[in-house]
């Protein structure tokens, strides 16, 4: 089993499984955020539920963080190994002839997304943790919407969000179907998965971008 875990295939399967988990998480995150466009009250309720439910806070949240960290660390480890597998570089290498930009630059889009997540943590998660578990401030179930709106007043931040989500879309355009390929899913449904993946990769980031822009312009 130890040989299995260190094997190249097991690692890529691990990358794929963590990716699929994060892909699933994105849907929930977007669903919650979307409510902010329609109803301040529903958004506050949903956010309050997510922020105080012990199952989500103490089970799902650590898993999610582990998933994010794992996906990045493993991605980084593999990227390093892959770079080392070609110790002398080509003088001329026409990678674009045979593979898409997205597939060849997952590390770059991944790093950009990582940078975004750091920003996102500084914006929301660290204040939230501070609020709840360090300073033990009293919970106000109606505070979330205001916090959200406040964050989307700075055009620079909104711009960074938009760029990050475009990169996320590029990352997903390759990553979604790649995850299925890695776990060995390649059959008559593959075409459906690929098409669905393309739609997903565009719609989900677009959703986040629309939310950010709406709040920015409606403020």
């Amino acid at each position: 089993m130890s040989g299995f875990l260190s094997s190249s295939i097991a690692r890529k399967v691990a990358m794929a499984l963590s990716a699929l988990f994060l892909i699933f998480f994105l849907i929930i995150h977007l669903a919650v955020n979307l409510t902010s466009l329609f109803s301040e009250e529903v958004f506050n309720q949903a956010s309050h539920f997510m922020g105080t439910n012990p199952l989500i806070q103490f089970a799902m949240q650590p898993i999610l963080i582990f998933g994010v960290v794992f996906h990045f660390v493993m991605g980084f480890v593999l990227e390093l190994k892959n770079k080392k597998s070609r110790n002398v570089k080509y003088v001329k290498y026409n990678g674009a002839a045979s593979a898409s930009w997205m597939s060849r630059n997952m590390a770059i889009s991944g790093m950009a997304i990582l940078a975004f997540i750091v920003l996102h943590f500084i914006d929301f998660w660290f204040p939230e943790m501070n609020h709840k578990y360090i300073e033990f401030l009293p919970e106000d179930p109606t505070r979330y919407f205001a916090e959200l709106q406040h964050k989307f007043t700075n055009p620079l931040r909104v711009g960074a969000y938009v760029i990050a989500f475009i990169l996320l879309a590029l990352h997903l355009l390759h990553g979604f179907q790649s995850a299925f390929q890695s776990i060995g899913f390649n059959n008559k449904y593959t075409k459906c998965v690929k098409n669905f993946g393309t739609i997903y990769s565009i719609v989900i980031p677009l959703g986040f971008i629309i939310i950010a822009l709406c709040h920015y312009f409606n403020h």
């Binding site: 089993m1 040989g3 299995f4 260190s6 094997s7 190249s8 295939i9 097991a10 690692r11 890529k12 399967v13 593999l78 190994k81 892959n82 080392k84 597998s85 070609r86 110790n87 002398v88 570089k89 080509y90 003088v91 001329k92 290498y93 026409n94 990678g95 002839a97 045979s98 593979a99 898409s100 597939s103 060849r104 997952m106 390759h174 179907q177 790649s178 390929q181 890695s182 776990i183 060995g184 899913f185 390649n186």
Partner: protein, 247 residues
């Protein structure tokens, strides 16, 4: 046509190597790429220079020996062919052509454009076979019917010529397409099922030990493969490997 060639020259495995520029003139568009190389080598011999070493043998696209990285792509810009099947009509008069060996840590350069592909041999030796002795008493060839679909898929995977273009094209120098083709060929046949689990485990283990990179599903290998080996084989190998390791 007249061409400028920039060719990798390297005296031996320890030598550093460099790109050297050559000019060739009056090249016919009907020549194959390797015939153009022959013309250049004849010129070098005439000038008492050491000709350029490159691997080639059958010159009909099946032995898998030829292995040139031409203008940034293994086997050149055309699809579905090996270097020996590339013809000069693909190029234009006055073109500059870059010619390099396969680049991968697992494929060290022996001389000039020749690389050592023994890593592929060791992967095959790790399990790329069915353990059946020659006897004259094996059961009749028609004793086990095999669905045409599986026989055809197996044949498609078995068409791999082991040239290494998959590794050369991959940004990660991954050998997954090569290994998966062999694994798939046997996994699709009833005769190969008996040892399937050991086979895929051992071949993947050897592949990892050889220092190939990891597959990130860019699909470059499938595009550059002269025999059109499909990425489906990689998915099948992943499946076989998971099955063999977990169950």
């Amino acid at each position: 046509m007249n061409l400028t060639l920039k060719i990798w020259r390297q005296k031996g495995p320890q030598d550093k190597g460099q790109m050297v520029e050559y000019k060739v003139t009056d090249i016919s568009e009907h020549m194959s790429f390797l015939e153009m190389m022959d013309v250049l080598n004849e010129q070098l011999v005439a000038k008492d220079e050491v000709p350029i070493a490159f691997d080639h043998d059958c010159r009909e696209g099946i032995c898998g020996m030829c292995s040139l990285h031409i203008n940034g792509e293994p086997h050149g810009p055309d699809r579905g062919i090996t270097t020996c099947q590339l013809h000069m009509r693909t190029f234009k008069d006055g073109d500059t052509i870059y010619i390099e060996p396969w680049r991968a840590k697992a494929f060290p350069v022996i001389k000039d454009l020749i690389v050592d592909r023994m890593a592929f041999e060791r992967i095959q030796q790790a399990g790329g076979y069915i353990s059946v002795n020659t006897s004259g008493n094996t059961q009749d060839a028609n004793a086990i019917p095999i669905s045409k679909l599986n026989a055809d898929l197996s044949m498609d995977a078995a068409a791999c010529i082991g040239c290494g273009a998959c590794v050369a094209s991959c940004k990660n120098s991954s050998a997954m397409l090569f290994v998966s083709a062999k694994v798939s060929q046997f996994a699709l046949l009833p005769q190969g099922k008996i040892e399937a689990a050991d086979r895929v485990r051992n071949m993947v283990k050897q592949m990892d030990e050889e220092g190939f990179g990891n597959c990130t599903n860019t699909g470059a290998c499938e595009v550059e493969c002269p025999k059109g080996i499909s990425l489906e084989n990689i998915a099948r190998m992943n499946r076989e490997y998971l099955k063999a390791s977990i169950i």
